[in-house]
Amino acid sequence: MARVVHPARHYLNDGYGISSWLLTRDHKRIALLYLAAVTFFFFVGGAMAVMIRLELATPVGDLVTDETYNKLFTMHGVMMVFFFLIPVIPAVLGNFLVPIMIGAKDLAFPKINLLSWYIYIIGGLFTLYALIAGGVDTGWTFYTPFSTVASTTNVVPTALGIFITGFSSILTGLNFIVTIHRMRAPGMTWFRMPLFLWSTYATSLINVLGTPVIAITVLLVAAERVFHFGFFDPRVGGDPVLFQHLFWFYSHPAVYIMVLPAMGVISELVAAGCRKPVFGYSFVAFASLAIAVLGFLVWGHHMFVAGESVYSALIFSILSFLVAIPSAVKVFNWTATMYKGSVSWETPMLYAYGFIGLFTIGGLTGLFLAAIAVDVHVTDTYFVIAHFHYIMVGGTIMGYLGGLHYWWPKISGRLYNEGLAKLSAGIIFVGFNLTFFPQFVLGYLGMPRRYHAYPPEFQVLNVLSSAGASILGVGYLIPMVYLMWSLRYGRVAGSNPWGAVGLEWTTSSPPPTENFAETPVVTWDPYEYPAADLEGHVA
């Protein structure tokens, strides 16, 4: 095959050896450090999902004990949420792309960026310690007073793990905010920024304003266990429901931390996949900010049956409907972008289709949950489980995989095997729906979540779900293989394999350590096609 020359010096060969990685301050290398770490946690969390689904293949609890089962879903939730889904897109793709997309040499605080990774790893080690030392069984939500007085498992190390990791999110968010405000290249105005940056910025706002609250909350739980404080203990007059307010004040906005970056990725994929500006650019941009702000006003919808007052339930319900609107606006705009586009069927675009469809289903079922009367029936059932896996797995992971495939040539300088990529995208799509669609039905039937054993009439649907999960698992393993393979054997990508626009495609693949040979001067709008003219734009 025709070998295109690799750029002679780039960030990957700029220094070898362990310390050139572990002490690096290059945002691109740090992104790869994160890539390794989050992938590890994904597979740990995924292995637990496999165990959960195996156990639920039969109605009786026969594979693992109830105690173990409770630990499995708790650790699954904790790993997947705090150590995989929250960091995944910001810390991997965001770290790699934010400086490049605005034409900067690095993030504003490279040392703090590296520090964030170490903090993340330390938090992860605490949690892994909790896992190895026997696990924790409170559910990822740590509801009091169970977590503070009843549970006898490793709540404190897990809580500390989450506390510590929180600072990694905060610092990453802080770094992005400052970078986007202060480091844009000449001519890169706010409305010339790619939409991925808008959504990263919105995500960072949530990171900075929400994460400290979960930090203090889990700290209170740990303190209550260690020092016998009484904030959430009804025996001394504490209110266990107060914990839920604090927890969800962060954890609802956190679901937007988990989906907004994926939305940003989708905007990029759709634009490049259609070679067309994103329809209604400014609406999509402001929708991200609207989601970030409104997302802070709805947390009480997790507490409709938890003993919150009837009137505040009404407030939280109506606000939850409002926060759905900007998401709807985004979905419509992406779909409209395809109209009269030059629509590609390459792998990244397949994932984008998957995201839009599955996110729509997940989001629409969110409306069921926001309608209080229906939520009373389906809360704490598999309906909720299906809702959020549709958004988080069907949405965010699809977005992430799409982004990873789209930028892989930039990151690695190589092309992966398109046939295998399409195949695995298909397998993931089918496996995903088979896993989680039956759970909607189960949920409305009334099967409670966090159940180790269940009435026999629910078995058929559960078996379908378990079968789907095994297909899904295979689907997730294939990309691991061909992406790794491509690092060595893949065709050399060239600087712009997709014919896309955006500053990242104007520099070589892989980019040099300082990202650009010369600081670019931006004189064009985002997504201004055709790409061919682009070279001429660079000053």
């Binding site: 109830d66 329809f279 979905v331 705009n333 069927w345 469809g357 790409a531």
Partner: protein, 316 residues
């Protein structure tokens, strides 16, 4: 393979059909939009498929009219759903005046039911068809959740508080009762059944056995055993306030505030008398924290309730 696999839950309470109706509406909205989006994606992807390697799309930037439409229409739809959902929810939250009251205590990992006539049950609850039933729930340890799918009814059972929920069964039968809030190791084993019976059968079941007498009479006995009656006397001669006719009234406190006497207030008065001092009295009542169980508290509350001077509104 599908025999015995239900795809839709039974509806066995007055509220269930109302919830289902809203559910179907939501389903219709969702199917419409899912098909709209998925259909458009497939259609555009096929119709505008990239045919030349260097083809670009038509450079369309947006349309104000469309933006307004797809902001406004979903907004209106969601407001319909909100109002609908809220009104059904209000019906759930507001029990009718005439209810059959039953006390529920959740603990790791069982349900205890206490009928006013004195019957006690574990993990099984008998109720008559066609009557509104109000459950006054509390927990001995952690948060549990009382969930009967066939009734579309669910509420967290919270330690330290009394949460009331109500339902009116419409069909005799046996229905799943689940604990729906994670509560520890045997959470999935904290299940039971609600048995809805014809009124006549229910009467027969009731008369089947109430060895200990009514709940109020248990409370009366406790009231004497714990020496409450040394201070609380019907003749206003005791050192504590008269409790007759107190329940449901409004009491003025020393701090100048007023409170309505409900289950929570009586409970607090017994466990933390100092928290709210009744105007005109000294804070001399001792705390009974640790001396009475949740179930004994319920008996005492029921006794205080039974001291109503007026004809009882919340009849059994």
């Amino acid at each position: 393979m599908w025999t015995g696999t239900p795809l839709f839950p039974e509806s066995a309470s007055t509220i269930a059909t109302r919830v289902d109706l809203l559910y179907f509406f939501l389903l219709a909205v969702s199917i419409f939009f899912s098909l709209l989006i998925a259909g458009s994606i497939v259609f555009f992807a096929v119709k505008y498929q990239r045919r030349r390697r260097d083809a670009i799309g038509e450079q369309i930037h947006g349309s104000m009219i469309l933006e307004i439409a797809w902001t406004g229409i979903p907004f209106l739809i969601t407001m319909v759903i909100f109002v609908w959902g809220a009104s059904v929810y209000f019906a759930m939250a507001r029990p009718p005046d005439e209810t059959l009251n039953i006390y529920v205590v959740g603990k790791q990992w069982m349900w205890k039911f206490q009928h006013l006539d004195g019957q006690r049950e574990i993990n099984e609850l008998h109720v008559p068809v066609g009557r509104a039933v109000k459950l006054i729930t509390t927990s001995e340890d952690v948060i549990h959740d009382f969930f009967v799918p066939a009734f579309r009814m669910k509420a967290d059972v919270i330690p330290g508080r009394y949460v009331s929920i109500w339902f009116q069964p419409t069909k005799p039968g046996r229905y799943h009762l689940f604990c729906a809030e994670y509560c520890g190791t045997r959470h999935s084993g904290m299940i039971g059944e609600v048995v809805v019976m014809e009124p006549s059968e229910y009467q027969a079941w009731l008369s089947g056995g109430a060895p200990e007498g009514s709940l109020a009479s248990t409370g009366a006995k406790l009231f004497a055993d714990l020496a409450c009656n040394t201070c609380h006397r019907p003749d206003a001669q005791g050192r504590g306030p008269v409790l007759e006719g107190l329940f449901g009234k409004t009491v003025r406190l020393q701090s100048g505030e007023t409170v309505t006497v409900d289950e929570a207030y009586v409970r607090e008065s017994i466990l933390t008398p100092s928290a709210k001092i009744t105007a005109g009295f000294q804070p001399i009542m001792p705390t009974f924290q640790g001396l009475v169980t949740e179930e004994q508290l319920l008996a005492l509350i029921e006794y205080v309730k039974s001291l109503h001077g007026l004809p009882q509104v919340e009849s059994r």
